[in-house]
Symmetry: D2
Subunit: 147 residues, 4 copies
């Protein structure tokens, strides 16, 4: 059976450069964000968190985890479709499963569907070096029509 996976069109370096260029607000808020790997239908990313990203109880906040999940989807769509900065999230569902103290978050994204108009992905978020899933999200991006 031939490999029918969607192939990436942007690599790690191009992707990090492009995201910083078109979405400077996210980089300002999360300076330690970066994509670390781009593969067919799969993207890995990291986010260093600190005391700005915690909530009552001293654990990483929901908005921080959401932003990381959403950036994972953005990295998926841009890496596989190209420099389409105007791709937008239409839906994101996130489950928060474990509390985590500030540290480096690791995200593993899978593209579940790479369509012409919609891309569906999921992301499992852990602390780097630990298997326990802190949060898991599934989301959809709408891809702008060509031309």
């Amino acid at each position: 059976m031939p490999d029918t996976k969607a192939q990436p069109v942007l690599g790690v370096k191009e992707l990090n450069t492009y995201i910083a260029e078109v979405y400077p607000q996210i980089i300002e808020q999360f300076p330690h964000y970066r994509v670390t790997a781009v593969e067919p239908e799969r993207v890995l990313l990291e986010l260093g968190t600190d005391e700005n990203h915690i909530r009552a109880g001293g654990t990483i906040s929901g908005p921080t985890l959401f932003a990381f999940a959403d950036m994972g989807g953005y990295a998926c769509v841009l890496s596989h479709v190209g420099r389409e900065a105007l791709a937008v999230t239409t839906n994101l569902n996130i489950n928060f499963m474990r509390k985590a103290e500030p540290g480096v978050l690791a995200g593993e994204c899978r593209i579940l569907k790479m369509g012409k108009r919609l891309m569906v992905f999921d992301i499992a978020i852990t602390l780097k070096g630990d298997d326990a899933i802190i949060a898991h999200a599934t989301g959809t991006y709408a891809i702008p029509p060509k031309g």
Copy 2:
């Protein structure tokens, strides 16, 4: 039929004071956030947004809208259960429906279930003074056991 709605135990002023005290990070990031009304099973809130809260395309970002939705749920649970800062989101599902330029966001939250262990809410987010829904979310908070 008697009114069986859950009744709030904190008012607007107490709630805003408490949130600023236990969750200073959110206030630092969103200085123009405030709860404006607390009613049985219903909370209204506002968030002034600016260029820090936009994304590629100049529209209010997904993480900003998520944070606002999540803060809506937090205001629901705190206003109806009391000063339980450690109540945490377990699930949040958000649909993004319309693009919106920076301005004052208005949120209308409904408590759909006020249980002992879980509270379920939804929130419709608009630009203040406009009926069109920008985003809609449904979420669940886990309430810490008493004592």
Copy 3:
């Protein structure tokens, strides 16, 4: 301000006839299903349930409530777009809030966004004559391109 709500193009009777015609499986499984009102961006529906629709514990089953929620979205899209039987659900998120013994379910659907390609709706499900929400869902339908 003019009323900018999307207007229905099919009435209750036309809608019930059309659904029974294009989706006989759902009617066979849920013979007591019917749309009861169609208004701008709002649809009401009912479903009589019996022992075929319960699960362990004697309460109405999740699949029954999901099917009812999904049919609510289908009624929303068909009533406002027309006889587009091939409109399909792309996402549905459902929260189950209270147990309910078999009886007549009532659903109140709101169209949150009536776009050209996507329609977003939510539905609150109660037992007829009771205010307590049994389940609440939010979903998206994709609308087939014209022509």
Copy 4:
């Protein structure tokens, strides 16, 4: 590092017998349903579908896919917690990604969190023998308190 995965307490045969006993309605509606493997934090299952499970367009219906996803979560919780028939779904989010003609559905479930009160899982649904994901769901079950 020791394996910290939750271990199953019921095997495939015990699980299929128990589900048929406590939830006969689902078996009546889906006679070709069965769990095929139970592993630590992972369950596989299958569902044979026919013309009773299709919708307009001749493809497998949303309610069928939801029921299969929900049964996957039920199999996860029962296999890892024991004969707790009253475990109930509190939330389920499903994305429908590809149309599929009737055939044998295969589901791969992962337990994302095995807590004392809540279990979170996801499921990828394909046609047996095909890698393309038809639908993907994430859900939460509430586990009844002991005793």
